[in-house]
Symmetry: C2
Subunit: 342 residues, 2 copies
């Protein structure tokens, strides 16, 4: 019997790797693979590799290119909804690039572009207890990204250019951020920030277990170094983790006070720490929201799709109707008229 199902390919561009996958009509991820991002190479080279790889991955799952209905791409960037261009990807050094057009030079297929964290949020918002809720999904890895799903749609802000949860100042005129600003939430809460905080603490605690965790080499410190040593009882590592969690909780509380989601989901590399991270995070964020104890802190849960959320969400872009949360700019007056009600 011939298989006439449709499939959707997703590409998730991260700071260190690019992930590929194919989903079926039931949102099931049939295959996934990742390659190093190879950041720093010419844009055109990276995009050609992406187009080649996604075809190979589909073929490896026994799905011919002709059975792929569309390719969705999640980019760690602001995306222009009118042109499909990458506006500004601070962690990749990309600025004003025609990713859609460049991709279609290699594969003439419908291409959908969206912010990577928005893709992950879209996928997570359809899973388990999140389904049907207004959900804030925060993805903590190289950056502190996120997506807000309101009424099943990606919240894109008042001019459709998106929602950047990591680049509001949390520490007025604090640490320099890769985006060019200072004191951004991302500059204190990303895994990159955690690595910086870990190294700083190690330099003043030469006897910390963290040195053993990284083989005595500061260059080998990663996002797990402090957590691993803290779990073994190292006091300095415990301080790193505790302080880091306070920053993350403050960043999340800021967003809850503004957006009041019905659920908060934490994804990205850091979510691998599970309840060791999430339990103190719930407690701290709950005490930092506006009207704490009066208005509820929404349930805070670990992402269910793990690293696959970005791929699945990107693939879903081709499967769900486009969903701006607001009328595009210039869409005409929608202000209420007294006459209608008077």
């Amino acid at each position: 019997m011939e298989n006439t199902n449709k499939y959707y390919a997703g590409i998730d561009i991260g700071g260190t790797k690019i992930a590929f996958g194919v989903v079926d009509e039931n949102r099931k991820l049939l295959i996934s693979r990742s390659i190093p991002a190879g950041a720093g190479r010419p844009f055109e080279v990276i995009v050609k590799e992406m187009a080649d790889t996604v075809k190979i991955v589909a073929a490896d799952a026994g799905i011919g290119s002709d059975r792929i209905a569309g390719v969705g791409i999640g980019v760690p960037s602001t995306v222009d909804p009118k042109t499909g261009r990458v506006v500004f990807a601070n962690n990749l050094g990309w600025r004003d690039l025609d990713l859609t057009g460049e991709f279609r030079k290699h594969w003439d297929i419908p291409v959908y572009l969206e912010n990577d964290a928005d893709c992950a949020a879209l996928a997570e918002s359809m899973e388990g207890p999140a389904a049907g809720k207004n959900v804030l999904v925060i993805t903590i890895g190289t950056g502190f990204g996120g997506g807000l799903i309101l009424n099943g749609r990606i919240f894109k802000g008042g001019d459709n250019s998106g929602f950047e949860p990591g680049h509001s100042a949390l520490v007025f005129e604090g640490e320099h951020c890769t985006c060019g600003l200072r004191g951004c939430t991302e500059a204190y809460t990303s895994v990159t920030a955690l690595i910086r905080q870990t190294r700083e603490k190690m330099e003043v605690h030469r006897d910390s277990l963290m040195w053993r965790e990284c083989g005595g080499d500061l260059e080998k410190v990663d996002g797990k170094t402090s957590f691993c040593a803290a779990k073994k009882g190292d006091a300095a590592a415990g301080e790193v983790v505790r302080d880091y969690i306070e920053y993350v909780s403050a960043g999340i509380a800021n967003l809850v006070s503004l957006f009041r989601p019905q659920m908060v989901i934490i994804g990205g590399a850091i979510s691998a720490e599970g309840d060791y991270l999430l339990e103190p995070l719930r407690k701290s964020a709950g005490s930092r929201i506006y009207a704490a104890g009066i208005l509820p802190m929404p349930p805070l849960q670990k992402a269910r799709l793990g690293n696959d959320a970005g791929i699945i969400g990107a693939a879903l872009l081709g499967a769900v109707p486009p969903s701006p949360s607001v009328t595009p700019a210039g869409g005409g007056s929608t202000a209420p008229e007294m006459g209608n009600a008077g």
Copy 2:
């Protein structure tokens, strides 16, 4: 000829005064008056005075109580949309109070409750170049409040409890805020904060012109003290104003990066400073938004309705349909279904 027009009464509860007004069907404010807030008096006494006063104000405009179609009340508080209760008004010390029910003990009329800054935002969003745009209105007075109008509706967040722009941390674990948290935007950007900043600077600059502006009495420092002395060339006052504007611009930039409004409007007592405030504010906020120079800083304008915005917006609550920006909690699943699109 008998006048059969409908009229709408508005009450705007502020930290220091309560303002009253009546508008006609064309949003025109026919009369307004204000009385001292008398904070600290029993809630019931304040509400009775409000009901008595709004009737008197209407009568003074020649409008009998029977011609008032409804009373809208703007409260500096989170408002529960299901019960019409005041949830938490940090600047008044009110918590979980049935303002609607208490008011109707004195006047049995439709009563509409909304956050005061949301009321002001609703009124401002219908005026001049803001009409039809997605507008962020920031009201700076006793507090740093605001309202976001998306598609002509008040943005109420993911659980309809509202949007609190002043109580996200701008200075991680900084100054104590009246809301109980630390480092809130409001704690650096309200006129109350400006007065604190003015006094602090005066204490280290005993020769500053600011002392003359307040008659040598720290208790008489107000939101104009530093601005007046700065305009006369006083260096210390200039520093107060410059630093204050940096805080305000950072607070506004944080919101622009998250919400990307098409226009920002500044209202409240501070807006009386006009371009002396707004010009440096535009420049600084424009440099503090995410992707500055790539994504646009929306036009930043002075509010057009001045102190009347809160009264007019409150009155309009009774004239425009209720407008939650999202489906109320429990409104059912709205997540997209693959099946519909596959």
